[in-house]
């Protein structure tokens, strides 16, 4: 039953993306409204799926890697709706965001069930959900920021080159994109910090030491430092716009390594590969 909901939401997201495509092409308000309604429907099913799934994970104490991807796609849609409620309107984002959501969902079907979290026996601790959710939400906000930064780069290039094409007409103003990326940066950074702290405390309680320099921990620290530098430069010097967008994209590549390569292939503490 739960899997059916997940599959259904995948299908509905696909339809919604086509709707966003129509909106991107025509900029008609109705197209946007329908696309968002469809997206919301898909999101409701997806949420139902997760209600079932989380219950299942906590009763069986088994967390497969494939559900992390699934959860990320759920989160990205949630973040989209959060930003739609904010006063800065960046509607065309849906058209760029949904492919990522769809890729994550489809990818999650390709990963075998057997890649389990190494911490399965320790789920009952309160620190685990805190660590997992903050970690996943930091990923969600940073990924959303990456999409926004990508849009920024596309828009900026057309304006700088003075060739005003498709993106100029359809994408939101640079300033808005920059402000949303900034928010994503702050939120992602805060969640990432919480994830690291809660992870360390949990590690101390469960295994007896705070930090053990495993590959996952190291690369997460690198990611944290990248975003810390970005925030520092932004607040003090005023790094914004293109430079910030490129830094975001750089952070994304580090995240890709951390999430897919280290998680799956590196041996050691905290990875799914061992």
């Amino acid at each position: 039953m739960a899997d059916f909901f997940s599959f259904l939401s995948l299908f509905i997201y696909l339809i919604s993306w086509i709707g966003f495509g129509f909106y991107f092409k025509s900029l008609k308000k109705e197209a946007l409204r329908y696309a968002q309604l469809v997206l919301l429907t898909g999101f409701c099913f997806h949420t139902l799926f997760w209600v079932f799934k989380i219950y299942q994970i906590f009763t069986t104490s088994l967390l497969s890697f494939k559900f992390l991807l699934n959860f990320l796609s759920w989160e990205l849609v949630l973040i989209y709706f959060l930003f739609i409620l904010s006063p800065i309107k960046i509607y065309t984002t849906g058209f760029f965001l949904l492919p990522l959501v769809l890729i994550f969902l489809i990818l999650s079907y390709f990963f075998p069930q057997e890649i389990f979290s190494p911490f399965s026996p320790y789920f009952k601790s309160l620190w685990f959900p805190l660590h997992a959710f903050t970690g996943l939400f930091s990923h969600g906000f940073l990924l959303f920021g990456v999409i926004i930064s990508l849009m920024y780069v596309l828009q900026e290039r057309e304006i700088k080159k003075k060739h005003l094409g498709v993106f100029f007409r359809k994408l939101p103003p640079l300033e808005y994109l920059d402000r949303v990326a900034e928010k994503c940066l702050y939120l992602g950074f805060i969640f990432l910090s919480f994830a690291i702290i809660s992870g360390a405390i949990w590690s101390e309680i469960a295994f007896g030491n705070y930090w053990r320099w495993s590959p996952k921990e190291v690369i997460t620290l690198i990611l944290w430092l990248i975003y810390a530098v970005l925030i520092h430069q932004r607040v003090l010097i005023g790094w914004r716009g293109k430079k910030a967008a490129y830094m975001f994209l750089f952070g994304f590549s580090v995240w890709l390594i951390s999430f897919f390569v280290i998680n799956l292939f590196a041996k050691g503490f905290h990875t799914y590969g061992s």
């Binding site: 800065i88 828009q155 304006i159 700088k160 003075k162 005003l164 100029f168 007409r169 939101p172 103003p173 640079l174 300033e175 808005y176 402000r179 010097i237 005023g238 790094w239 914004r240 716009g241 293109k242 430079k243």
Partner: protein, 465 residues
């Protein structure tokens, strides 16, 4: 039987006539509208519309085809009297379009396809007010009403379905829309005018009307800057203080008469840090240019000179021309629909459609009944057929007679009404028995309740009695 009206358009526009002729024919005298005079002096037309804008003067008339020559001579002498032109001098500048072509032309005009700047939106408003005038002077009737309403819906359709109005096509609007795309909302932004020239002032007005927060003026002679600053309620700087002014600004409009660049790359580079890399949009409308080309390469600085803006406009116009082709397709189909409506206003097609519809209904009902009554003799079948036929004929006698009798006066209204009542323009649809039952049941209930209420105590009624 053919159409008994002609739609005639007599007009001139920016392509066919120079402005000296257009302005004389514009009838700008506010005390008397040309339609008023024409109505008084010429009696050989049925309906009329007068459209005058800075780029065109057009008369639309609905005439009897027989009276066309008479009307034209009357109209020529009217024009000669009103303008000081001889008809011979004027004629080469005019275009005469009839029926389909006139309709098509009106649609094109309303959509802005015939305008100097293709797709400009003001023209629709001008057509609307021209129609209002025609209503005012009671020169608009059945045909023009339908034509103009059609015209408005076509224009709306073209605007929503094609990109004919998309993209900026004036320098100041192009600059404004670029600023919007770079800076988002302009409400909390500051505009810096470098040079107090008229061009910059004009461009700045656009930004001010869109609600920028503040205007700063930097000029070689400070007194001129102060003068302008008072006008915009802003601050004034001399050119030496330009870097300080640049730090505060988000949008820069530069238009000095200086022979070489006054905003250099080193100058802008030095202010990036104090600005905290806030985006800066520089519009250089001066010739020769005021701003070094290299400035565009700096981070978060966007420089557009007058040629860049013009090429943006050029691109947009090209795009609009492409969209115009799509608009033409829409217009063609709508002209066709209008022609169809006109033709159907004719008398015989309507009668034929009406009796055809009745015949289909009769045949359907007849075959249903005959299926139920199987043991009928040929004679009985024939009797039933005759019964149905005469029933239909007698019922249709009234509408047909009504149309015929009043054909010459308000006949077209009657025809159009009959077409609507009997749904002659819609595809045939079988009416289900339950639908009919429901309808009659409701009518009966209503009439009964009304009867009751009139019978029952009606204190007001009694009082009146």
């Amino acid at each position: 039987m053919g159409l008994d009206i002609t739609i005639l358009l007599i007009g001139l526009n920016h392509k066919t006539a120079p402005v000296e002729i257009r302005e004389k024919l514009a009838f700008k005298n506010p005390s008397s509208h040309p339609l008023e005079k024409i109505k008084k002096e010429i009696s050989s037309f049925k309906e009329g519309l007068f459209l005058s804008t800075c780029n065109r003067v057009e008369f639309y008339f609905i005439l009897d085809p027989d009276k066309k020559n008479q009307f034209l001579t009357e109209f020529f002498s009217f024009i000669e009297r009103e303008s000081s032109f001889k008809w011979k001098d004027l004629e080469p500048h005019l275009y005469f379009l009839e029926n389909e072509k006139a309709v098509k032309h009106l649609f094109e005009v309303a959509c802005g396809l015939d305008s100097m700047v293709i797709g400009e939106p003001q023209i629709l408003g001008q057509v609307k007010s021209a129609y209002k005038e025609a209503l005012n002077y009671r020169t608009s009737g059945l045909i023009l009403n339908k034509l103009l309403h059609k015209c408005f819906s076509v224009a709306k359709k073209v605007r929503t379905e094609t990109g004919i109005g998309g993209g900026a096509v004036s320098v100041s609007y192009a600059a404004y829309s670029l600023a919007k795309k770079i800076l988002g909302s302009l409400k909390d932004k500051t505009v810096l005018l470098v040079g107090a020239g008229e061009m910059a002032e004009l461009a700045c007005m656009h930004f001010v009307s869109e609600g920028v927060r503040k205007v700063i003026i930097a000029n070689r002679t400070l007194s001129k800057a102060i003068e302008l600053a008072e006008k915009f309620k802003g601050e004034a700087y001399s050119l030496d203080e330009l870097p300080q002014a640049l730090i505060k600004a988000d949008i820069v409009i530069s238009s000095t008469g200086a022979p070489n660049c006054i905003i250099t790359k080193t100058m802008v580079n030095s202010i990036l840090k104090p600005r905290k890399y806030r985006p800066l949009f520089i519009i250089d409308i001066a010739v020769p240019r005021d701003v070094e080309q290299e400035v565009n390469k700096l981070e978060n600085v966007f420089l557009y000179d007058i040629d860049d803006l013009k090429s943006v406009i050029e691109e947009n116009l090209k795009e609009r021309k492409k969209e115009a082709l799509r608009a033409q397709v829409i217009i063609e189909t709508e002209v066709f629909k209008f022609q169809k409506w006109l033709k159907e206003l004719d008398f015989y097609p309507t009668l034929r459609a009406l009796s055809e519809k009745a015949e289909i209904l009769r045949q359907n009902e007849l075959s249903k009944t005959l299926k139920k009554l199987k043991n009928l003799s040929e004679e009985e079948k024939k009797a039933i057929e005759i019964l149905t036929k005469s029933l239909v004929q007698k019922l249709l006698y009234y509408p047909i007679n009504f149309i015929k009798k009043s054909y010459h006066e308000e006949g077209k209204y009657a025809i159009s009404l009959v077409r609507q009542i009997f749904e002659l323009d819609e595809p045939f649809k079988e009416i289900s028995e339950t639908e009919i039952e429901d309808l009659y049941l409701k009518i009966e209930e209503k009439s009964q309740s009304q009867e009751n209420s009139s019978k029952n105590t009606d204190p007001k009624g009694i009082l009146i009695q």
